[in-house]
Amino acid sequence: MSAGPAVDLETRLAVSDFLVAEAAALDERRFEDWLGLFTDDVTYVAPVRVTRRSGSPDVVDEITYFDEDKQSLTLRVKRLLTDVAWAEDPPSMTRRFVSNIRIIPIPDEEELTVKNNLLLFRSRGDEGTYDLIVGEREDRLREEGGELRICRRRAVLDQAALGTKNLGVFL
């Protein structure tokens, strides 16, 4: 794995800019812009994490928190744009910290695997409290029409019991 010399500076900056812009679109609630950052054949999943003994797999892909394609992501966005999406209306204040960006070129393909860490800070209501959603995203990026697009996202969260009342926010 490498984000360093194996990947040229231009690509590194482009990927980094792309993820920063994506996080900004979500934090600023520009959901349609955000949807535009995904290819039409995107798959977007978040498997369930469990507590197991060391050595046993602790990610269960069979059941997920998200299991989306472009159509279902679009439906979620449309819902958020109605005036009755109570879970996010009034909206949460969110701030996404994206770091530890690691780029793995895929040989013989015009795609990149990009691993990155997500810390999502989410505050709602007037209780002065916040929830944290932490995990690793493994994204696959493809260039379409000169722009980077996400064609696959798999977000593995770090809690076996999520400490947030719903996932009305995107990962």
Binding site: R52, I63, Y65, F66, E68, R79, W86
Partner: protein
């Protein structure tokens, strides 16, 4: 508040038959203390589905009330439920969510228990034990603390009450309906439960699944906005059922002419497992919700088209109390074991999109339960009781030609089962009868 004070307040203010419930019961810490002791410490509680324990030695870690328990299939194939706590210093024995093992070995001093809960000895070999306890150990007294276990249609329940009613008596009329929901075919849990934490008292979601079809038109009105359903009263057509015992059900039905929404390839299996009246109702189901007292809910959500197929992703829910104003949701997706693979795939996708922690319905529900919980603290600062309205359908007469047992009402908009939920709850919390 002393136990006597809180009992007096409950007796004076909770009046389910009049449709009157005081708001403080949603999150009052003293009430919660009584609930843990008198309700969760005594009543039958759902702990696992048999498909989660596929072989001898399989176990899952669950909670009864706030207490961690091991639900394990012993090497004799019998399912038992143990307090997840060593008899020596009370240390937790099973630390993973699930697994398969011949024994549980306490990490602290090595006390080791077999899959039947029997005390086997201490860690790795007898010399250690002989040295530590030359006078010997009373192995019988060190048997894991064991709950009473019974199951129905693959659903495993346990209770700390060793001499209360049987599970069969406890479930009563609701069994006829559980047959349709979980007994119609061999069911399997898909993967593992989703788990998340909601700042809500545990009764709010329980009564919501038990007796509240009415909220859907408002809370989930995005459905109508996005033309996923027709009309605002899409949740009304069907039956509200109060089977007694604090359980409750709502069954949404569609025009029989449309035929069954369930996979046709399973028709023969349904026919083997259900009597004709149950089968007839199944064929008309478009959604089906309910709650087994106190905190086990189930739901077959509305069938929604995916491509050219109508699908629904059914679920089981546990509303695990974590405090007077906090709960952990456990949400299992279940599917007919022999359903077509394509149907299974679509059902799972539908379930994740509509329910579960990211589900578009669940999101709205959690918003309500949290705010209700916060508001119920109002009761702490007011001298007069804040009474809530549970009167819907209070004068309606039940149908006399409904095939299932219990009191069934025409149309899903009623709070009859909710009133019985609170009656049963009150009696249990005041320890007036074995719940």
């Amino acid at each position: 508040m002393s136990n006597a004070d809180i009992r007096a307040r409950l007796e004076a203010t909770v009046d389910p038959e009049a449709g009157a419930i005081p708001m403080f019961v949603y999150s009052d810490p003293d009430v919660y203390r009584l609930e843990l002791e008198n309700l969760f410490g005594r009543t039958w509680l759902y702990v696992a589905h048999e498909s989660e324990l596929p072989e001898a030695g399989s176990f899952v870690v669950r909670r009864m009330g706030e207490q961690s328990v091991i639900v394990g299939r012993g090497d004799d194939e019998t399912v038992r439920v143990f307090l997840n706590s060593c008899r020596h210093r009370g240390m937790r024995l099973a630390n993973e969510d699930f697994g398969c093992t011949e024994m549980w070995r306490c990490p602290y001093h090595g006390f080791t228990y077999g899959s039947k809960g029997e005390f086997l000895g201490t860690l790795i070999g007898a010399p250690y034990e002989r040295q530590a306890y030359p006078e010997g150990l009373d192995k019988e007294a060190l048997h894991l603390i064991e709950a009473r276990v019974e199951s129905y249609r693959g659903m495993i329940f346990a209770t700390w009450s060793l001499d209360g009613p049987s599970l069969d008596e406890f479930l009563g009329n609701v069994k006829w309906y559980l047959d349709i929901v979980l007994g119609r075919a061999a069911m399997e849990v898909v993967g593992v439960p989703q788990k998340w934490i909601v700042p809500s008292g545990w009764k709010l979601p329980s009564e919501n699944f038990c007796a509240d079809a009415y909220h859907t038109a408002t809370a989930h009105s995005f459905l109508a906005r996005l033309n996923l359903v027709e009309g605002v009263d899409f949740g009304r057509d069907g039956y509200h059922v109060d089977p007694g015992g604090g359980h409750g059900l709502g069954i949404g039905v569609h025009d029989p002419a449309e035929g069954s929404y369930f996979p046709a390839s399973l028709e023969a299996e349904y026919g083997r497992n259900l009597d004709p009246e149950q089968l007839d109702l199944l064929h008309r189901v478009k959604n089906f919700h309910g709650n087994v007292f106190p905190n086990l809910s189930f739901l077959i959500p509305n069938f929604i088209p995916m491509g050219d197929q109508l699908v629904s992703g059914m679920m089981l829910r546990l509303w695990q109390p974590l405090g007077p104003d906090k709960l952990e949701v456990w949400s299992w997706h279940l599917v007919e074991r022999d359903a077509p693979e394509q149907w299974k795939r679509l059902a799972r996708k539908m379930y994740v999109q509509t329910f579960g922690v990211s589900g578009m319905f669940d999101q709205d529900d959690t918003e309500n339960w949290e705010a209700q919980t916060v508001n119920s603290n109002t009761a702490l600062t007011r001298s007069d009781e804040v009474m809530l309205h549970y009167g819907m359908g209070i004068s309606a007469a039940p149908l006399d030609d409904f095939p299932g047992p219990g009191a069934a009402y025409d149309g899903k908009f009623s709070e009859a089962a909710g009133r019985t939920f609170y009656r049963t709850w009150l009696d249990a919390v005041l320890a007036r009868s074995a719940a």
